[in-house]
Amino acid sequence: MKFELDAVHIEEGSRTSALARRVVGGLSPGVAVNYVADGREASRPIAGVADSFAAGKRRMVIMRRRSPFLMACPAGSSEFACCGYLVLTLASNCPMDCGYCFLQDYLADNPGFQVYANYSDAFDELERLRRNAPARGFRVGTGELADSLAFDSLTGISRDLVEYFAGRDDLTLELKTKTDEIENLLAADPKGRTLVSWTLSPERVFRSTEHRTAPPAARIEAARRVLEAGYRVAFHFDPIIAYAGAERDYIELMGNLFDVIAPERIAFVSLGGMRMTPALRAAARRRFPDDPMLLGEEVLGPDGRYRAFTPLRLRLYSALSDRIRKADAKLQTYLCMESPSVHRRVFGEPAQPPAALGARLAAN
């Protein structure tokens, strides 16, 4: 799948970067290329545009990142049982447009699709991390504020990442995506250090809500291909949307997945119910007022987020967890952004500490 751009803005200081050269060289004819003094200004919402977040997705900004690349997962919190995920922010925003995506609120003031030309500086941060914690293993992902592979055919960043991680036994790279843009990966040798993960949703959610993403079957097929090419694979059933008939559809989807990829070859599976802050919910409903997937039976929980009411959500988790156990009792499964008590109810055991789970997921 290929995405379209209206324009590319390149910060003057990044004009001669390898990334800018690759992008300019690979652009479709007709895409305007502009040079700007400060990419941050070019990333701001455009005045007078009705949906500036959507417009931002079509405006790539190649610029220098001023902040650290590496951080703890922003979803992490002491109130949740977390997975110890570390985030490497190499881009911000995404050409796809999922109705539930938190970026609709998170990037409302900064919607331009930023890609950071100095991304190799992230490797220095990773080296510092390794030096500071020499006995630990880390799982580091690039798919939090952007899809890890969208536009990879243009930017080529995945090749450099896979190569860097291939030489480090204490680091695992997780590339998280809803695309089937895997051609660069197939040409690289991950040496077991890169894991590619797909968010999977039933066909009904894909059609209603996951605009411009690859269909679920195409994601599973892409996973099969990278697995054969030497990558590890994982799957995120997240967000799980609790519409009427969801249990049947998600279980069928899991069956389809396990038919193509044997569960014992899957590194891990995560489950997470759809959750929205009031601000995100308002933004999502404003942008997609006719999407029934955004109008489920969500209620405001004690953490200030809307989620499917608890018995419904937990029943779905339990049904899906049972299906996973039936497929492979050893398949590592965790919940994202849920409390330790929910974890205990679903899995019948206490959640592992984030660092321990993170190391385990990195090692699987």
Partner: protein
């Protein structure tokens, strides 16, 4: 230029209630039957501004949800509109009732919430029945999380003196199995709903 029928009445009602402009615009943008149906509810029930906005939002959401259900099931059913929802028997019963306008306004919002959140309402009803069946004495209450938004269950004992406290603690002990069952139901245990 002639205004569509009812527009003046809607504008008058909106002005009297200080309805925000965005809501008035949405109201006026509805199909004739829908906007008239809303006015037919707002006026006789003397809805307050907040009540009107809540009812309007619930109705819009119900329409989207029910249209999606019809499309997904390929059902040959009437496409839901605000007017057809307000014409349903359970809603007409409230609108045509003889109670006070404020009382009927509250009933209307409850009825719309039941349509908008059907599984939540059924689950809450089931839990309420389970709690009632425990026959707990006065002074012991089971407090469920608001709108079942968490998995926490509280059992509150309120006593005056040691004798009464001992009696109530004994009652809680005797209801142990039932209380555990309620806590499990909140965690999705048993069959909360046939169709999830």
């Amino acid at each position: 230029m002639n205004r569509p029928a009812g527009e003046d009445a809607i504008r008058r009602w909106a002005a009297a209630r200080h309805l925000p402009d965005a809501h008035l615009r949405r109201w006026l943008a509805l199909a004739d039957e829908d906007r008239a149906a809303l006015l037919d509810v707002a006026e006789p029930l003397r809805l307050r501004t907040g009540q009107f906005m809540t009812a309007f939002e619930l109705l819009e959401e119900i329409v989207v949800r029910e249209r999606a259900t019809i499309v997904a099931n390929g059902a040959n059913a009437t496409i839901a509109t605000i007017a057809t929802i307000l014409a349903r028997r359970e809603i007409r019963r409230i609108l045509d009732g003889t109670g006070s306008a404020p009382g009927r306004a509250r009933e209307l919002l409850d009825a719309l919430r039941t349509i908008r959140f059907p599984r939540l309402k059924r689950t809450a009803q089931r839990l309420a029945e389970e709690i009632a069946a425990l026959g707990l004495p006065h002074g012991v209450s089971v407090v469920l999380p608001k709108e079942l938004g968490s998995d926490e269950v509280k059992v509150e004992i309120s006593a005056h003196g040691g004798v009464e406290l001992e009696r109530l603690i004994d009652a809680v002990g005797q209801a142990r199995a039932g209380l555990i069952r309620i806590a499990d139901l909140i965690g999705g245990g048993d069959s909360i709903d046939d169709e999830v």
